[in-house]
């Protein structure tokens, strides 16, 4: 039995719409030094970020910051982040803002792993040198639990609204909350994460089930026993010599009920074929090519075709390889007859 985890749906629902934490002010104004580092790191040669003439020629009043730097102006740097993590680990910082509460609830639901899934930015106006940015973050959405490929998890979307004030206004010593009320919206960003239970993903949960079993009767047991012994057996009337497949208790040619079997050499030709797409049954891989093989001995057999579905066509020569799928079931798989390539 998997571990039972609590369900915090109700508590999480109350967090939707709440501010993630306090409004934050960027440590410094939009400046050309950071822009230069960014465009060099990105390999962005657009001149409007550094060359005033080029910016004006493009219709801007001055050089602008690359739009995708929107969040970069707010970031406080690696040292700040490391110090904060250390303080949290030591228990010297109380984190009771909505974002911390949400993360703690996710962890308590067993969703301790995290992956960022989406980041969508939209821009209201370009950022110019001297703009001071403010960001107001809130929790926009928390999904119901979902089984994803990575694991059983919830998606959480944060909405970050970016505002700008002039550097002078920002330096007046007013609180960031108060500054926002006088500021101009310059862009937004939605950031979505998946918090999931480790080890509950597609590969962990849905191991490929074994192929469905054939019904075995006294009439067809010899055929499947033969495959387990590595033999492709064809039923043979011991009175008139007619071969038959699929197995039956009697001979349609002479009515005899006496039979044994002969061994097929596993060589033949594709008489007809299909490629299955839907429905997709977990025990099989799709697209799934299946052939109706005319064996050289004269009977036909339905079997899987190996390899690229596109490579198969009616009339092609094939050779069987008998393979054990598990202790119980072996089947013939047909591949292209190499001799035919000549």
């Amino acid at each position: 039995m998997p571990t039972e985890f609590p369900d915090h749906s109700d508590a999480l629902a109350k967090l939707v719409g709440e501010p993630s934490g306090p409004v934050e002010l960027s440590p410094e104004a939009v400046n050309s030094a950071m822009i230069r580092h960014w465009v060099e790191a990105m390999g962005d040669r657009n001149p409007v970020y550094l060359d005033r003439e080029a910016a004006r020629a493009a219709g801007y009043r001055d050089v602008i910051a690359p739009q995708t730097m929107l969040q970069a102006w707010i970031m406080k740097g690696l040292r700040h982040t490391l110090d904060l993590e250390a303080a949290r680990a030591a228990g010297t910082v109380a984190s009771n803002d909505a974002n911390s509460t949400m993360m703690a609830l996710f962890d308590d639901e067993g969703r301790t792993s995290v992956v960022a899934t989406n980041c969508d930015q939209s821009y209201v106006r370009p950022l110019y040198l001297g703009d001071r940015l403010l960001v107001r973050s809130s929790i926009e959405a928390i999904s119901d639990p979902k089984q994803t490929g990575l694991g059983h998890g919830r998606f959480a979307t944060s909405l970050m609204e970016f505002f700008a004030v002039s550097n002078e206004v920002a330096e007046r010593g007013v609180s960031a909350e108060e500054l926002v009320s006088q500021a101009e919206l310059v862009g937004t960003m939605r950031f979505r994460i998946l918090k999931f239970r480790p080890g509950t993903g597609a590969t962990a949960v849905v191991a490929k089930p074994p192929r469905p079993r054939p019904a075995i009767t006294e009439d067809n047991a010899f055929y499947f026993e033969g495959l387990r012994a590595g033999e492709l057996r064809i039923q043979h009337c011991t009175d008139c010599g007619t071969l038959r497949h699929p197995p039956l208790p009697g001979c349609g040619s002479c009515t005899s009920l006496n039979w044994d079997y002969v061994l097929s050499a596993g060589k033949g030709e594709i008489y007809s074929m299909v490629v299955n797409h839907y429905p997709q049954v977990p025990a099989f891989d799709y697209p799934l090519p299946i052939g109706l093989i005319q064996l050289d001995e004269g009977t036909r057999i339905v079997a899987n075709l190996e390899g690229d579905p596109e490579s198969w066509a009616i009339g092609q020569r094939v050779t069987a390889e008998i393979r054990a799928l598990d202790d119980e079931l072996s089947l013939p798989f047909f591949h292209h007859d190499d001799m035919q390539e000549d």
Binding site: P214, A215, S272, M273, V274, V275, N276, Y278, P287, L331
Partner: protein, 393 residues
Amino acid sequence: MTSHAFAGKVAIAGIGATEFSKKSGRSELRLAVEAVKAALDDAGIHPSEVQGTVTYGTDTNPDVDIARSLGFDDLTFFSRIYFGGGAACGTIQQAALAVNSGVADVVVCYRAFNERSGNRFGAGVQGRAPIANAENAHLASYIPVGLLTPAQWVAMAAARYLYSTGATSEDFGRVAVADRKHAATNPKAWFYQQPITLEEHQASRWIVEPLHLLDCCQETDGGQAIVVTSVERARDLRQDVVIVDAAVQGSAKGQDMMTSYYRDDLCGLPEMGVVARQLWETSGLKPSDIDAAILYDHFTPYVLYQLEELGFCGKGEAKDFIKDGRIELGGELPINTHGGQLGEAYLHGMNGIAEGVRLLRGQSYNQVEGAEKVLVTAGTGVPTSGLILGKDV
């Protein structure tokens, strides 16, 4: 062969159906009861007069439960026919045999299921427990390989048909286009007002190559019932009389259930040939006497096979026969005027019989003017059956 004893002496007196949906919200038994009641009402026969019932071997609704639900009196005939949709017209033959031999005066044939919201045939047989019996052993050749669904079983034959006859997927598509054209003007059809083009057929996704999605019939929740009685009795009832000119079953050498892959070739349906031979011989009619045909269309390829087996065209010639709207309303041989099982509903062929009746009563939404003889077929790829229905003259 001479005429069958019942030919011309037995009639279809009533038809009744539920709505055709994807989620009925009712039990299969309730659908069966509603359809039977509607068919009896259509005929003007009280349920207490029913003496016989016929349904499919695959139907889950016991005749005795329907009998108790509707207050039937004593039953003297109850029968079932196996092989899935191949049973459709066979139920009418059973009823005709019973009525004409004096075993039962009024027989109700029915089929009802939640084939979309409940047990979906299109989902495949991979879940079937490998219990040791011959029906399951038949599937042993296909289940472990992954050949699991009716579409896949038909596609194996269809691929060879394309290879041998030079027909193309577009020829299959013309059947779908005709069906959907007719469904578009039938308010009872699921795809009412939703015709398709050949381009849309070609662009629809693969289900199993060489079959596109639009080569495949719907999955439907619903019920359909047909009331059979003597021509004499029918003439005293509510509706115009529709006469059973021929009702036959057919299974042929090398017959298998959906996977007759071991015959000399895969480009025919010899069991439909057996049906065709008897239809023409027992009715004394010929293909040119037929004003419209309801050809079983779970998957489009076998409609082409049927046109050939029934003698409407020669072997391998269906691809040419169906061109230029010949099988559409206004053409030489309109087929599936209700929209077929691609367009109206998949009721295992039973709704096709009802459409045959409507055409002869002048009640079809896509009426073929002056229709006097209509041919109806049942499930293909399996032991099957067929009807020729005629106007009372």
